[in-house]
Every structure is written in structure tokens, then in C-alpha cells.
């Protein structure tokens, strides 16, 4: 089988018989490559429970692309965003990623929303030496076994968020109970709390109650949780699981005796839940729009978003979409091209500020060192607008001290 045939744009070829005719077109394509747009593949779960987050990611990523193009692109070369629906399904994501690489010849992939999907995308990109900027939470992806030379993790990870929340909430002498979803992500979040508790000292973890992933009814886990009489309950799950378990924990009177904290407090999930159920819940976040009063880059980002979306404000996962795309385009511009090696060199150790203040891309594991916001969900009465959901209790600035060391992650240093 001829190797060259695979490089053809198959949509232009009607059948095997026509393949031979296409050889001249190939030469043409090579000549044209220089002024072709820089394609960025953007797999995101437009279908499924995180559709709202995904759509906001797309809106924000598009802002980054538009800004890049408005600023002249890369020596005149424009960027183009190719959005693909990964359906929150790793298999689908892998297929879409293969298509983006093999057929659309993208320069890099940015995106994904769940831990499993990003690992699937990463598996495909790292085998093919394709640049990938992941924008969803995971501890695993920067660990040596999954890490790839071309993999970058712009999102926070459970270790960082859980740690930041714990450092803010835990006080010596406290009794802490953890409710965690029994899968990688849940365990990672729980581990983050545990490490932070040990570092603070004097914090007693009285119970680690596991529950199966995707449980609809948490009532069966709550009596035991209540019986250990904790001061703080850390709920380590995500999305629907989080909304469900918080609601039921409140129903079962957990909040009458304890404070509920979560590693990640999502903007859209809070909208889907009710202000009553979330009232007073404390959690971490990568972004919340009201930080614009202290962070200039956030103000600029919000304004660009407001202009493009009738005055609405971006969500936390939307900000990831902006940040991930802008990061990689900036690196390309600085590298003066889209060559993977050059861009990787630019990104390693890169200091930047896209929308939330200064960040650094750690060279050894490609994890973005960045701030974590500590948010508290407002009471209904305190909300001034539909978008006024949280109080920002604190911003923990990015620091390598709050990350696991690269040696811990299994990297050779």
C-alpha cells in the first residue's frame, strides 16, 4: 500500500480508482502548506451532561483564536478552531482525535473535559508526537506512566484543588470525614485532602467513606458518615455525583453538625443545583469571573467574553478553553512556527498570564503552576444577579510547593 495515499484529503477522492489522479494534488498541497491556517483540534463533549460547559469552552477558545488572528496571527498565518464532539466518551474522543490528526492535519489538540477522555486523547497524541494541551482535571496525566513529551496540562489537578481547600478550611483539632467516589478521580481528590491534613497536623481523618461512581442515591452512605460526628465533610466526586450527594447530605442533616467542602465547585453544576442545597459549601476553582476586580487579565478576558456574548460572563471550564488555546498559540508565535519540538521547547518553563494572573508551565511534568480560588456558595438572598453565585474567600497563589514533586510523579530529574 502506497504510503503517500494516506496523506490525501479523502473527502476529495471519490474512490480507489481515483486515487492515482490525486498525486499532483499532493504536490500542490505541499506548496500551499505555508499559508494554510493553523488548525487546532478541539474535542469537547457537546453531547451529554457537560454540554453547557463544553459549549462555553468552545466560545472561549474561539475568543482566543479571534484575538490571535486579529493580532496578525503567526506571520500572517491565521488560526482555525476545529471543534469535534467527543460525546464524553473516550472511544469517541480517540476516534475524533485520530481524524483530526490523520485527516485534518491539525497542528495541535486542545481540549477534553473528563479525566478518562483526556487520557484517551493523550494516548493517541503521544504515540504520534502530536502536541496536546489538556484542560481538564487529572493527577494521572502528569504522572510518568501517562506523561508524554508533547502533553501539557493547563488545568488544575485534584492534588492542587483539594490541598488548597484543605489548607483554607482545616484547623488543628478538627475531625474530618471524606465521602469519595470510588474511581481514580475520587481517590486523587481524597489523597489531596489527606496530604494537606497531614501537613497541617492535628487534623484527624475519622472516616473515608467510598461510594460507587455514578450513584444516584447516597442515602445509604450517610448514616455512617453522620455517626462519626465530623466537623468537616469532604465530598470527593464530580458533576452530577457532587450535586446529588450534597443535596442528600443536606437532607440527612449533615450540615446541621458539619461543614461540607468540595475540591471543585463548578459554576454550571451550582446553577443546575439549587442555591439552598449549595448554601455555604466551600470549594476550589480555577476561575470565577468576579476576580476581575483584582486580576487585570481576568478583566480583559471577561470584557472580551461579554462583548462576544451579550454581556454574559465566562464559566470556569470556559476559562480553561481560552487559556489552553491562547497558551499554545502564544507559544507558536514565540517559536515562530508550528513545529512540535520548537513549541514544546517554548512551553516548558513558560511564564504567562492568560486570564487569571501569572502561571508557569513546569518543565519536568508539564503541569501549569497556577492559583486556586477558594469559593463559597452564596445564600439565595445574597445573590445580586443570576451569575452572582459565589464569594471568593481566598486566592491561593500558584506555588511549586503546593504541587507534588516531579520525583514523586515518577519523572527522572
Amino acid at each position: 500500500m502506497s504510503r503517500t495515499l494516506t496523506d490525501l484529503d479523502r473527502r476529495t477522492v471519490l474512490g480507489g480508482g481515483l486515487a492515482a489522479l490525486a498525486a499532483p494534488a499532493l504536490l500542490l498541497r505541499a506548496a500551499r502548506a505555508a499559508d494554510e491556517p493553523i488548525r487546532i483540534g478541539f474535542p469537547t463533549p457537546l453531547t451529554g451532561p457537560f454540554g453547557a460547559e463544553a459549549k462555553d469552552q468552545v466560545r472561549c477558545a474561539q475568543i482566543a483564536v479571534d484575538q490571535f488572528n486579529a493580532a496578525g496571527g503567526l506571520n500572517g498565518r491565521k488560526a482555525e478552531l476545529l471543534v469535534r464532539d467527543d460525546k464524553l466518551n473516550p472511544g469517541e474522543a480517540a476516534t475524533r482525535t485520530l481524524e483530526l490528526i490523520e485527516q485534518d492535519h491539525v497542528a495541535c489538540i486542545v481540549g477534553s473535559l473528563s479525566s478518562s477522555v483526556q487520557l484517551a486523547v493523550n494516548e493517541v497524541t503521544k504515540a504520534r508526537g502530536m502536541l496536546y494541551v489538556s484542560i481538564s482535571q487529572s493527577d494521572t496525566i502528569t504522572e510518568a506512566s501517562d506523561f508524554g513529551r508533547t502533553t501539557f496540562h493547563e488545568a488544575l489537578n485534584p492534588h492542587m484543588t483539594a490541598g488548597a481547600v484543605a489548607r483554607h478550611v482545616f484547623k488543628p483539632g478538627m475531625k474530618v470525614a471524606i465521602l469519595l467516589a470510588d474511581y481514580a478521580y475520587g481517590n486523587e481528590m481524597a489523597a489531596g485532602f489527606r496530604r494537606a491534613a497531614a501537613a497541617i497536623g492535628g487534623v484527624e481523618i475519622v472516616l473515608e467513606q467510598k461510594h460507587p461512581f455514578g450513584t444516584a442515591d447516597y442515602s445509604t452512605f450517610l448514616p455512617r458518615l453522620r455517626s462519626v460526628k465530623p466537623d468537616v465533610v469532604c465530598i470527593c466526586n464530580f458533576g452530577r455525583d457532587q450535586a446529588n450527594s450534597i443535596k442528600q447530605a443536606v437532607d440527612f442533616g449533615i450540615t446541621r453538625q458539619a461543614r461540607i467542602v468540595v475540591p471543585v465547585l463548578l459554576y454550571n453544576q451550582r446553577l443546575a443545583g439549587s442555591p439552598e442545597a449549595f448554601e455555604g459549601i466551600v470549594g476550589g476553582a480555577n476561575y470565577y469571573w468576579t476576580i476581575e476586580d483584582r486580576v487585570p487579565s481576568a478583566k480583559a478576558f471577561n470584557d472580551a467574553y461579554r462583548a462576544a456574548n451579550n454581556g454574559a460572563v465566562p464559566s470556569d471550564y470556559g476559562a480553561y478553553g481560552y487559556s489552553g488555546v491562547r497558551l499554545v498559540l502564544e507559544a507558536m508565535r514565540r517559536a515562530g512556527g508550528v513545529g512540535t519540538d520548537a513549541v514544546v521547547r517554548e512551553l516548558e518553563g513558560y511564564h504567562y498570564d492568560t486570564c487569571k494572573g501569572p502561571e508557569t508551565m513546569r518543565a519536568c511534568d508539564h503541569q501549569a503552576i497556577q492559583s486556586v480560588l477558594i469559593l463559597q456558595s452564596k445564600a439565595k438572598a445574597a445573590m445580586k444577579s443570576a451569575a452572582d453565585l459565589f464569594d471568593v474567600l481566598a486566592i491561593e497563589e500558584g506555588s511549586e510547593a503546593n504541587l507534588r514533586s516531579c520525583a514523586d510523579l515518577g519523572h527522572k530529574t
Binding site: R3, T47, A94, A120, A127
Partner: protein, 323 residues
């Protein structure tokens, strides 16, 4: 279920040529499909639906748990590659064997029930497999899926093929699928093929004739599982991951949808169905995130107005014209 004409004892011309025919179509598929990754999916899911059809179309048992066998094949091959460093060919064999073993277990439990009960029991048992795989994180990667099984080159004797090259990957998988189809075609032409059709047509009479119907059902169930297992193993090689979703019950539903859209009980129907389904999904999801509305509606319309499926209707129409 709408059944196909019986396999005549002398293979008809159509039966003799069906494997070369499908092989010829599949050989040019990468050049006509919108993308090569989609073409590979048609191969794999076509084989998956064909395996399912062995049980549903030819034996009349509607399983709603075939995701378990696709998954067992994928995880079997994936674990062999990722955890034990088995070669790619051995991994495929292990995947197929794992799926066959699981099919024996699930089959032995489920063939005790009939009709709709059978569908529900297979569904529930497959969900059990799903949850077990979810929990067995150290083996399966749990929710994150199984990773670390990228095969970048295939060694075949002195030859080394670049498996990352989409064209080479396609034709390697094509080779396996064609071989499997050839084997299935022989199986259907064999006395055993006659037996399962007879059981579909009249289980009681088959029993009275001297067939151990349970055993035959179990055999058909296992063979069906083996084929789906091969599809799963190939999928693991193709995607270089095994997502936990492979085992979820909606993957089982996928086989049902594909077989029905194409034509259950016909040899090529499931392939046609897989191609139709994947093309619809691919093209619709590009312009709307509500593609499931259309998939669901098309499926409803197919059940109502095209119960023989696209290919099945064509076959029946030709048969009627000849008669």
C-alpha cells in the same frame, strides 16, 4: 424476528460470493468514507454487529448484553498488551479467548430464560460485568479506561509494519475482519448453521428431532461472543485505549440498532447497518449536538416501516422479484 431465507444446502451464488463481495467493498472503503478512522470503525462495529446477528438474526435470541463481549475482547487484548507485554497477535488471541469464556458463563445463565426475559437477563448480567470492570481498577484502569497499550509497529516474521499509519492499520484490521467473515460464512453454511436456523424457526420441533437445544444455544451464544470479542480486541488495537464505556449497556444497544437498521438475519445487513449508523452519527453530530434525536427517530421509523432493515429489504425485494 423477520428472518432471512434459509441457507440452502447447496450454497447459492449469492452465498458463495458474499464474502468476496463484502471484502471488495471494504477494501475500497477508506477511499470513500469521510475519514479513515470512521472506516476502521465501520470494520470493527460491522464485525461486532455481525457477531451479534449470529445470535439475533440466525438464532432469534435478542441479547441486550453484547457489550460484555466487545468489552471482554478489548480488555483481554488490552490487559495482555499493557500488563503482560504479550505480542499484538497473542493479545488478540487472548482477547477473543476471554470473550469466549465470558460468553460461556453469561450464556449458561441466560439461555435458561426465553424471549424477553432473555433480553433482560443478558442486559443485567452485562451491567454486572460493567460494574465489576469499573471496580477492578488495578486491572482495567477503571473509569479512566485502560491505557498503555499503544502498538506502534507490527512484527510479522521479518516484516515490520508501521501500525500508526492509518492505511496500514486499516488493512491489517481489514484482514482480520475478512477472515472472520469468511469463517462466519462457513459456519452458517455448515450443519451447525442449519441447526441454529431450525431452532429459531421452531425450538420445540428441533428438540423433538434430537437437538440438544440448550447446548446449541450455548454454542451459538459462545460463537457470537467470540466474534464480538475479536471486534473488541481489534478496537483496543485501533484506539490504543479501552474505555469503560465499551461495556456499558448502550454499547449493547448499538449492536441491536446496527443489526436492525441493516437487516437482522442477513449476512451483510449488520455491516450495512453499522455503516449507516456511523455515517449518520458522524455527519449529524457535525452540525447538531442533538444528533441523538435523529438517530432515535430514524431507528423508530426503521422499526415501524422497515422492519427488515435496509439491506434486508433489498434482499427480500430481489427474492420476491425472482419468485
Amino acid at each position: 424476528m423477520t428472518s432471512a431465507r434459509s441457507e440452502a444446502h447447496e450454497p447459492t451464488r449469492a452465498q458463495r460470493w458474499r464474502v468476496p463481495l463484502v471484502a471488495a467493498v471494504l477494501a475500497v472503503l477508506p477511499w470513500i468514507a469521510p475519514s479513515q478512522a470512521l472506516a476502521v470503525n465501520i470494520l470493527i462495529y460491522g464485525l461486532y454487529a455481525t457477531g451479534f446477528n449470529l445470535l439475533f438474526g440466525y438464532m432469534g435470541l435478542l441479547s441486550f448484553g453484547h457489550a460484555a463481549f466487545l468489552g471482554a475482547g478489548a480488555y483481554g487484548a488490552g490487559i495482555a498488551l499493557a500488563r503482560f507485554g504479550v505480542g499484538w497477535f497473542g493479545a488478540i488471541a487472548i482477547g477473543v479467548a476471554a470473550s469466549g469464556l465470558l460468553a460461556v458463563l453469561i450464556g449458561a445463565l441466560s439461555i435458561r430464560s426465553r424471549g424477553i426475559y432473555f433480553s433482560m437477563v443478558t442486559l443485567a448480567l452485562a451491567q454486572l460485568v460493567y460494574y465489576v470492570a469499573f471496580q477492578a481498577e488495578s486491572w482495567t484502569g477503571g473509569e479512566n479506561g485502560l491505557r498503555g497499550l499503544t502498538v506502534s509497529s507490527l512484527r510479522i516474521g521479518p516484516l515490520s509494519l508501521n501500525f500508526l499509519d492509518p492505511t496500514i492499520k486499516y488493512y491489517v484490521i481489514f484482514g482480520f475482519v475478512t477472515a472472520a467473515l469468511w469463517a462466519i460464512s462457513r459456519l452458517l453454511n455448515s450443519p451447525f448453521g442449519a441447526t441454529i436456523e431450525a431452532i429459531r424457526e421452531n425450538e420445540g420441533r428441533a428438540q423433538a428431532c434430537g437437538y440438544d437445544v440448550r447446548r446449541m444455544k450455548l454454542m451459538a451464544f459462545t460463537l457470537s461472543g467470540l466474534v464480538c470479542g475479536l471486534a473488541g480486541a481489534l478496537d483496543a488495537l485501533h484506539l490504543s485505549i479501552v474505555p469503560i464505556d465499551t461495556l456499558y449497556y448502550q454499547t449493547s444497544g448499538l449492536a441491536v440498532m446496527m443489526a436492525l437498521l441493516g437487516g437482522a438475519g442477513t449476512f451483510l445487513g449488520p455491516f450495512v447497518g453499522a455503516a449507516i449508523f456511523l455515517l449518520i452519527e458522524d455527519s449529524f453530530s457535525l452540525w447538531t449536538s442533538h444528533w441523538q434525536l435523529f438517530v432515535g427517530a430514524i431507528f423508530i421509523l426503521a422499526v415501524l416501516f422497515l422492519p427488515r432493515g435496509a439491506w434486508g429489504t433489498l434482499v427480500a425485494w430481489r427474492a420476491d422479484r425472482r419468485a
